[in-house]
Symmetry: D2
């Protein structure tokens, strides 16, 4: 509940302020003798950076992962894996205005309320930059459950609905938002395939509960629903009980071996107006949040997967 560790067996501990020395993560519980491909790790990190998507924040840091421990000759040792990413581009001038005007819907004021102190140079722990730790951990989690396929798809950004990822129309829309100092929320639909039967627990750690914990811990995520989601509210029992698919791959909190389907609601970033036009802020967090979503899901499933091994003979 100090809140910087996630997981029970595959334990991910995140650290780092956005304008401190470095961001980083320690992964405890990683099984030994698993091959690590540092290029693949770097590619995962690059997915949450600008590049493929050109209107993202211009804070163009290399985000180069430095593995400090737990890997030797490209194999995991079974010891804690520590990885850091240095904060090389710590311009904090953009945050001057924030210091005196805490952003509504952001951690600026509540961090002070909680701790009575804050690194005023940036978002601190609440910065989107913290998510590099999650993407790194997600890479390692993925090595343990390589057959499980997690795919997050942007289905809405602001007024653009029923999207199927990012296309030219979306890029134009985001460009327009950026120039107007505006920002947008949206929706992401997630599909998880090849999940073994039996993951999740019947009581507090139902798979839908731990996935919700994992995904709502992403800064701008404001809601989650499973299976047919909102439709459950008006459907009658006879309408839903004929087809297992309605429940999105989880029954009684435990995976049933079918595709897990869930949807996430995201709010628009809180930085708008002049500050957004000039600062290094995204008009929409969704393009960069996709790998973070996938990582948090892998971390959660991996933890359940390792736990399930303790029940089997």
């Amino acid at each position: 509940m100090s809140g910087n560790t996630f997981g029970n067996i595959f334990k991910v501990t995140s650290f780092g302020e956005s304008h401190g020395e470095a961001m980083g993560v320690v992964i405890d519980g990683m099984p030994p003798n698993i091959e690590v491909d540092t290029n693949a790790l770097q590619q995962e990190l690059d997915r949450r950076r600008p590049g493929a998507f050109k209107f993202a924040t211009s804070r163009n840091e290399p985000d180069k992962a430095i593995i400090l421990s737990g890997v030797f000759q490209n194999k995991t040792l079974g010891t804690p894996i520590a990885v850091i990413i240095k904060n090389t581009n710590q311009k904090s001038e953009d945050y001057k205005e924030i210091k005196s005007n805490p952003r509504v819907g952001h951690a600026d004021q509540t961090t002070l309320d909680k701790f009575g102190i804050k690194d005023h140079r940036g978002g601190g722990r609440a910065s989107g930059r913290e998510t590099v730790s999650r993407v790194i951990a997600g890479y390692f989690a993925g090595l343990i459950i390589p057959t499980i396929k997690v795919h997050a798809l942007i289905t809405q950004i602001g007024e653009l609905r029923e999207l199927n990822g990012i296309d030219k129309e979306v890029e134009n829309y985001l460009f327009k938002l950026k120039t107007e100092g505006e920002s947008a929320g949206g929706e992401v639909a997630v599909s998880i395939k090849n999940v073994p039967k039996g993951l999740g627990d019947p009581c507090f750690d139902k798979l839908k509960a731990t996935l919700s914990h994992a995904l709502l811990s992403i800064g701008s995520c404001m809601g989650i629903s499973f299976g047919i989601g909102e439709e459950f509210k008006s459907k009658l029992g006879s309408e839903i009980s004929t087809d297992r698919e309605n429940f999105g791959g989880i029954e009684g909190g435990i995976s049933n071996g079918e595709e897990i389907c869930l949807k996430l609601i995201f709010k628009a970033p809180s930085t708008v107006g002049k500050n957004a036009k000039e600062g290094r802020h995204d008009p929409c967090i969704l393009p960069r949040v996709v790998p973070v979503i996938e990582s948090m899901i892998k971390i959660t499933l991996c933890d359940h997967y390792l736990m399930q091994k303790t029940l089997l003979r």
Copy 2:
């Protein structure tokens, strides 16, 4: 992740199968010298039973709480509080059909997938009956944070929308569902007032993340959203950033001292048809789930509240 304990400082451990000897809970981390009112505890338990609401399951067990430890002369001792409720009415004939026909959307099959064994007499751990443990723990959590007011309101049941709780119209609707062997889902809106500033953590244990974990661990809960919820998807930054209220009392994962607002999606119970008409099953889980929702929220806030004490001098 064995999944039967919730909380880090205020630790709630739930046990019991619906057709075993007893349901129960152990609460570790309860501060000492707090007055306990066993009548008030019993009233909380009665709220999740039939009575006020007459079409609920006819499994009419007294649900009498027996305090085994942790309380002496009506005061908490600071030691673990254990409370049990005996299962006096363990008719299992109703479940015969279930044994051969696992209910879709229910734990019947997945429990077997996970454990390779199941108490076929009833829902086991996935039974709604398990929630008595949560209501008991919620009562004790409430003693620690008495000024926080948690209120869950049914706003939709099946086709009846914009409800303001249960009235005659709802009762008639539920009666009709019951006689037809039908069931319905719905929506619950939650308001939490007087939450101190500073609860929740900036990283994995954001208040919205732990509340989601707590609430999605309730059997039929299929979704959660905070603040303006679904509206976030299409709203622009400038539309939401002017009013703190849009975010529902949580900013950056930390309570800001204002009212916390969230909504929950519930699915219809999976038991329908002949089995529902004859069995002891509810046409809608919502009336009985209200105190469970409120309890899980109290447990979560209480844990954050005690954690916050460790940061203060």
Copy 3:
């Protein structure tokens, strides 16, 4: 650290005051489909009661284990196992004197210091009676690691040294102590055979560290040493490095597959004088503590054993 749960995967939660309704334990993380023999469980409990050893405390409670959950048709369900033992013989008159004269070396005063309240009718959580919970959990732990053999042997009681368990001479000595209102400490030597290689962790959870935690959590245990123990202080490296046996089966914190050897120091019970002569107190705790020692060791090894499964493919 609320301190009533031990273990990470095989989680044992103990509850109950000596003069409350009942003592009990919840075991979470028990694998499913393991056969339970309630007679064998009862036999383990009987070992820590008077009987074989006649000068033990005269508080002659039946200590009958009542399984509330987690077992169905004599098989574990994989769900939490809750077991209680009722406190049928709650005479508290013996404790009147204690209320005004807190025993030196006992929790009487420090419990008040900590909690500001105490169930003055008896030892509360610090009572030796709490160890029934440990013996129950030890029984279930033993089912998971049936090939590991744990044997605790009393090697000293007061002035009687180099014992090989309890014989007629010991019984006479204890009888004499009892009549004199006197009490004695002693030593227990433990042998653990057939431990698989690889249990324990290289850092904070070295096997010697977690075993020490487990065993020093027994009320009167005042010291532990591994392998040749005290002799390590004066031996040179060349004298010990030739023979693996000196290290007592643990190297670098990890079991090496050989016999694990450790010794425990116990203090005399704090109740002496008139109070001891008349009260229901043992002149020596060792005869009854043997099954508690064995249980705590099984619990600890079981937890390491289940953890190790998460590392293997």
Copy 4:
């Protein structure tokens, strides 16, 4: 139980192999707004290095602490504190012989047994070098409980008994051992003063239990005893129950406000013979282990201290 995190509220996560990139630690649960003196931190680290004591290992690394997060303008932020120390002097030739001849009493073989893989360049996680992480964490723990005074004193090294720390005689003895390729064990006596009343828990987390866990997790520590230690074995109840001092400051597992006294047994380092003469190994670990002992005690007490705050109003 992945075993690289210690503590429940003040959570210390250690990482790093002795011949990897860096050693490090993440401390979660550090309260905010506490002043950090990096010079004082460095001094603590220097205490476990050669210098004052000249016959220690010649692996002369600077051990410079680099704070990556959690501290801003010399104040703690309440966020996780990450500190690393680079491994600048990673000569691994000394370990060639070890690769083919695993040291008896060392983790060389058991690490392989456990993980099936090992960084053969050095001691890996079992290296004494890992203890830098503990000393760093101990420094921060000390900031939370500044009035508690922890003092560890070497009282025996090999045949030299009743020592009062290290003097000329000891230095000569160690020099002789070093030249002979020999090593020695010993004893350390610890005094802890000004501990508030009420730390520790009545059940599994008795103060003596958690201190034992903490201290037996130090590589060469083979035993611990509290108060009058070995003497408890032969003393009668009447002999010890008159004087609170016999129990070493802990009664019923809870601190009573008086001086806590304990003794630790250490074995001789396993590296002896030619390898020891030429390699960078200490003839005795005790001089360098003193700050590690003190650190582990501070970490443990700090965790209990923060926990105790959750019980108080």
